[in-house]
Symmetry: C2
Subunit: 253 residues, 2 copies
Amino acid sequence: RGRIIAVANQKGGVGKTTTVINLATALAACGATVLVVDLDPQGNATTGFGLPDEARASGSYQLLTGSKVEPCETIVPGLKFIPTSVDLVGAELELVSEGQREYKLKAALEPFLVRFDYIFIDCPPALGLLTLNALTAADTVMVPMQCEFFALEGLSHLLQTIERVRAHSNPDLEIEGFVLTMYDRRNNLCRSVESDVRAHFGAKVYTSVIPRNVRVSEAPSFGKPVLLYDIGCAGAQAYIRLASEIMDLDSVP
Amino acid sequence: RGRIIAVANQKGGVGKTTTVINLATALAACGATVLVVDLDPQGNATTGFGLPDEARASGSYQLLTGSKVEPCETIVPGLKFIPTSVDLVGAELELVSEGQREYKLKAALEPFLVRFDYIFIDCPPALGLLTLNALTAADTVMVPMQCEFFALEGLSHLLQTIERVRAHSNPDLEIEGFVLTMYDRRNNLCRSVESDVRAHFGAKVYTSVIPRNVRVSEAPSFGKPVLLYDIGCAGAQAYIRLASEIMDLDSVP
Ligand SMILES: Nc1ncnc2c1ncn2[C@@H]1O[C@H](COP(=O)(O)OP(=O)(O)OP(=O)(O)O)[C@@H](O)[C@H]1O
Ligand SMILES: Nc1ncnc2c1ncn2[C@@H]1O[C@H](COP(=O)(O)OP(=O)(O)OP(=O)(O)O)[C@@H](O)[C@H]1O
Ligand SMILES: [Mg+2]
Ligand SMILES: [Mg+2]
């Protein structure tokens, strides 16, 4: 049975989409079968895999409203994808008045669990109904965070929301881990936020840290994960290290 | 009569809050009277001005639900502030079923127009009801954007939303301008996105560009705008140039 990992953080621009695209690719490159669900109306993950506009006809909105959706192929063997669609923007307002509104995604992803080792959900930068659906469907939550002051402040909001979801709709929800992104070793603020986070969350913070690396931000303009754009760059190597760290953790009984 | 400027972009982490805090401070330093409204449940602007938790008792949630709110003082003379409060998170779901739900903020800000030259609204990274309230109340929209690929992609969503707001609830809404943030001259992607944006939006893109500058990201951890934390740094100087560019534009008949 596969594991559903919601990649969430309401702080904007911390590397959620970049982590989903590149970690999923690295895991697929090691032989895992991976599904990525783009639950952000912005659709950056859909663009980051180079999916054309036609591919967006049926996607995560259909998933939330109960239609059957078949994931599409990507340029990465072993990695399938459920794109965002523009009508997803309206989904939050539509879902509000429905019963069981947080459980829609969980029900929709159930049939995919036997087909994939990992299912990643890219969340929008908010704690609204889309993210609540992802947290209710997920086995674990992965939290990308920049080592900046505002990012630290947002963590307590996120952790409170995770507690609320555990109490109301998903008692088994665990934290998969904290990924430090866009890390700059020369920057004092970065180093002091990192030591705060490690002191606070201990082993839940991955050893592998993702450095700020311009090749990572160039890759989406070519519609490719950075592993396919420039496998030798520091960013790609860091995501490969992160993938093997996660697989090592999985193999520990 | 003051001008209401919504600072909005659904792309996360592009410098909305940093621009509100530092541009408002630079305008106040030049003698303007300024009000800042924190409409983001994350409350980064509230923290960036060093406001303690007690100050958050009455704020933008009360504004949206019709109570009378008195702005609080900040460490910047001439700059007043309406903080976020945690109950703002629930406001979006509560507003959905109300009539005239987009007009709540507009009605609430009306009495402040005679007291302030500029009213800035810091928006969350989403195009939900909070941002719609800001766009309906605003005279103009200021759009901070990073020179990155995903940021470029999000612009068309934002412009479509502005058109929709113009058609439904605020026909006079104009674009105040595009502010390029966290700019790195050495980065090719940055330079090519900049030339795309200037080719597309012409004079609506400010000449003043905000460089990536670590002092800017350090300032919030001291609860101060960067102008008070380190007036000589490149980031502070850039925001001062941006303020004078805006005031020059205002004085042109
Ligand atoms: N390691 C990195 N090095 C350099 N740039 C990066 C890195 N990771 C992400 N970026 C860039 O930073 C920006 C923000 O990253 P991304 O869009 O993945 O964050 P996000 O959390 O998904 O944002 P949002 O909150 O809008 O969904 C993007 O332009 C991306 O290309
Ligand atoms: N010019 C700059 N130089 C360096 N760091 C910056 C600069 N501007 C903003 N930052 C940092 O980048 C991060 C994102 O900026 P900010 O929080 O202002 O963006 P935002 O658009 O308000 O984010 P959100 O979408 O979460 O509301 C913050 O940690 C901030 O300190
Ligand atoms: Mg994203
Ligand atoms: Mg902000």
